[in-house]
């Protein structure tokens, strides 16, 4: 392979790589902010950090509430029907799957990101 041909091939590969990254970028993350979730209307995944002090379980109604701050800095109360997930207290960040209903975010599911530290108990 001549040097010139090799350069052409390398440039083509680099262009392909850049195209690959840009083409997938927007489709890559399912996580949105509360504002985007409200705009969507339907089910969305909002990722953010939890104010652990705000977490409370109402045993009468069986509802779990906590305040979630999304990546844009907006905080909203999330309502979830059921007990908090097992790893909730250890969560680094939380994803609430559901939709915006007025001032609260009604979650059908709560996903947690645990710190992955591989040490014994």
């Amino acid at each position: 392979m001549s040097r010139r041909k090799l350069v052409v091939v390398l440039i083509a590969l680099a262009a392909f790589a850049v195209f690959g990254i840009t083409a997938f970028r927007s489709a890559l993350t399912p996580y949105v902010t509360f504002a985007e979730a409200a705009a969507v209307g339907g089910s969305a995944q909002v990722s953010g950090t939890v104010d652990k002090a705000s977490a409370r379980f109402d045993s009468a109604s069986g509802l779990f509430y906590f305040d979630l701050t999304d990546t844009s800095g907006t905080t909203m109360t999330v309502q979830y029907e059921g007990a908090p997930p097992v790893n909730f207290d250890d969560a680094e960040s939380v994803v609430a799957v559901g939709s915006v209903a007025g001032n609260t975010f009604v979650a059908k599911k709560i996903l947690v990101k645990c710190p992955s530290k591989y040490h014994a108990e």
């Binding site: 990254i21 890559l28 990101k113 710190p115 591989y118 014994a120």
Partner: protein, 223 residues
Amino acid sequence: MRHLAESAVAKWALGIWMVLVITGAFFYAPAAAVLGEMSRIIYFHIPSAWVSVLAFLMCTVYSVAYLRRRREMFDAAASFAAELGLLFCIIATVSGSIFAKSAWGSYWNWDPRETSIFVLLLIYGAYFALRSSVDDPARRGSLSAVYGVLAFITVPLLVFVVPRLPAVQSLHPDGPIISSGGSLDMDSKMFTVFMASLAGFTGIYAWAFNLRLRAWRIINEED
């Protein structure tokens, strides 16, 4: 390398090694805090992902070799490497999904890691669709070799770059293999089992690949 992979001693040693790895994964290494017993899946999930990347790399190496020398054996070897890569990629996906259910709370929620491995499965699935659609061996060899090289460009992007682009958040942690900083936060017993498993899985890949190539040689090079 060829002699090593073909010797009966190496085969038995690999078998015993994997028995030790599996035993070690369940009885020697402690369960991780927070993640609990489920954390043991890392001794199988991460090595599968590693072997998958390694196999896809080998597919590219043989593809380039085919394009340069046009020997049918290189084309066959590239396809065998891709087969194993796809197999281990599926294992990594399934074990990852099970792990995600226990650690995050959902089998599949299109996390960037899940999306990128799904795209990877499609890309290498298409490699076999391409192979089976061309009958002429020389033409099939050339086309799939070029595709094999192009496909591998997406591997480092999908596995290492895309999930940690700024603005892309993920529930998936930066593991030992895909870690950006290279810091390994792991208990020493876990680390021992983990490294042994990486070596074992790599051995399984080498053994399976060699077996496939030997079978091909017997059929195609009758001498």
